[in-house]
């Protein structure tokens, strides 16, 4: 069971929904090359009208944070309440804020 089922490289898939502004990570897949990865993503992740744009990225191209570094990376932000913009009075007549 230690050998990978597929000899194809792994790709990560990002889909932009009709009303979403950003591409969102939706999953991963195997494909022989970039072009087929895009097509496989279309077949696997947009079958139910979920998207209007797809990005695929070789998983090997992604640098990820490590769970071991969780505390030094993320814990320090946990108590910095002053970093949230909640200390301003917002005037009534300012739109889109």
């Amino acid at each position: 069971m230690s050998t990978p089922r597929s000899a194809w490289p792994l790709y990560e898939v990002f889909v932009r929904g009709k009303r979403g502004l950003n591409h969102v990570h939706v999953g991963s897949l195997h494909a022989p090359d970039d072009e087929m990865a895009l097509r496989n993503a279309r077949d696997l992740y947009t079958r139910r009208n979920e998207g209007v744009s797809i990005w695929v990225v070789p998983a090997s191209a992604i640098t990820a944070s490590s769970p071991d570094e969780k505390d030094p990376f993320f814990a320090p932000a946990g108590d910095k309440v002053y970093r949230h913009p909640t200390f301003y009075e917002i005037p009534e007549d300012v739109p889109h804020l």
Binding site: R19, G20, R39, D43, R48, N49
Partner: protein
């Protein structure tokens, strides 16, 4: 909002699907289309023509479905099943139209499940076992899909301007699906041809295997000729087919097959209900449940 049916629950939404980020905006391809038989048109011929186009899609859909859980990769398994479902969707609309125009009370299920082999009007290309059965392999399936989708796309592009508004709407919907099927087959043709010596050898053999059934696709049938403004004369699709195949085969540096065409049987081909022995086995599997348990729903 009803929760009996997941799709109803999604699409009903009091006409407002703004709150759904994904999976909304489903369209009915035949909404608002006039379903009357066009004036001065033979209902028998129009019904038969719809059956021809329906059976091509239905039988190939059944063949592609055989790959479910057996494709070389999980991703390809889903891709082939998607294509099969697209074709099944086309078949359902066309069978419904055939039954409605015929006016004998036969619906899509009756036409799909309760006709015998000689009543099927599909071209023989779609009934061949091109794998995963013993008759072929993945390359044969791709070769057949390339030929079929290139041909059908060329026909449907013209059919989208048919004088029958229902056929025109079905074709307009199908064109987008078939363009993807053709692209998928072409992508795989390039990769199998350019992969290893082994994959290239099998791709060449695959094209040789299905090539005898290509000419039949472009032979006009009397029913097609009797519906000049409604049906597409398949012979007119040949230049586009040759162009596309030449482009793909050139890019893949594959030789164009030179195998002679398969002969008609006593002058009759698939369009006339004369089939290869493969179709009987296919229908036995496709129809046995509906025939064993008449009226069953599942």
């Amino acid at each position: 909002m009803s929760f009996d049916n997941a799709y109803d629950a999604i699409t009903d939404g009091a006409g407002d699907d703004q709150h759904w980020a994904f999976g909304t905006g489903f369209d009915d391809p035949l909404a608002g289309v006039d379903r009357a038989v066009p004036a001065d048109t033979s209902a028998v011929d129009l019904s038969t023509y719809c059956l021809m186009l329906a059976d091509d899609a239905l039988i190939l859909s059944q063949r592609l479905t055989e790959w479910c859980s057996r494709a070389p990769e999980l991703e390809e398994d889903v891709a082939l099943a998607n294509i099969a479902l697209d074709l099944l969707g086309q078949a359902r609309l066309l069978l419904t139209r055939a039954g409605e125009v015929e006016g004998a009370g036969r619906d899509e299920d009756t036409l799909a499940y309760l006709r015998d082999e000689h009543e099927f009007r599909n071209v023989r290309l779609v009934e061949l076992d091109c794998g995963p059965g013993p008759g072929g392999d993945f390359a044969t399936t791709i070769a057949r899909l390339l030929v079929f989708s290139t041909w059908r796309l060329a026909v449907f592009t013209q059919l989208a301007h048919s004088a029958d508004p229902v056929l025109a709407a079905i074709a307009a919907k199908g064109v987008k699906e078939l363009a993807y099927h053709r692209d998928h087959a072409a992508q795989w043709t390039l990769r199998l041809a350019g992969g290893t010596d082994h994959s290239r050898t099998r791709m060449i053999a695959a094209l040789d295997q299905i090539w005898p059934l290509v000419d039949e696709l472009f032979t006009p049938h009397p029913v097609e000729q009797s519906l000049p403004a409604i049906a597409v004369d398949p012979a007119t699709a040949r230049p586009e087919f040759d162009d596309v195949l030449d482009t793909v085969l050139t890019a893949a540096t594959l030789p164009r097959p030179t195998v002679p065409p398969m002969s008609p049987v006593a002058g009759r081909t698939g369009r006339d209900g004369a089939h290869t022995e493969a179709l009987g086995y296919l229908l036995a599997e496709m129809q046995h449940l509906a025939r064993s348990l008449p009226g069953a729903t599942w």
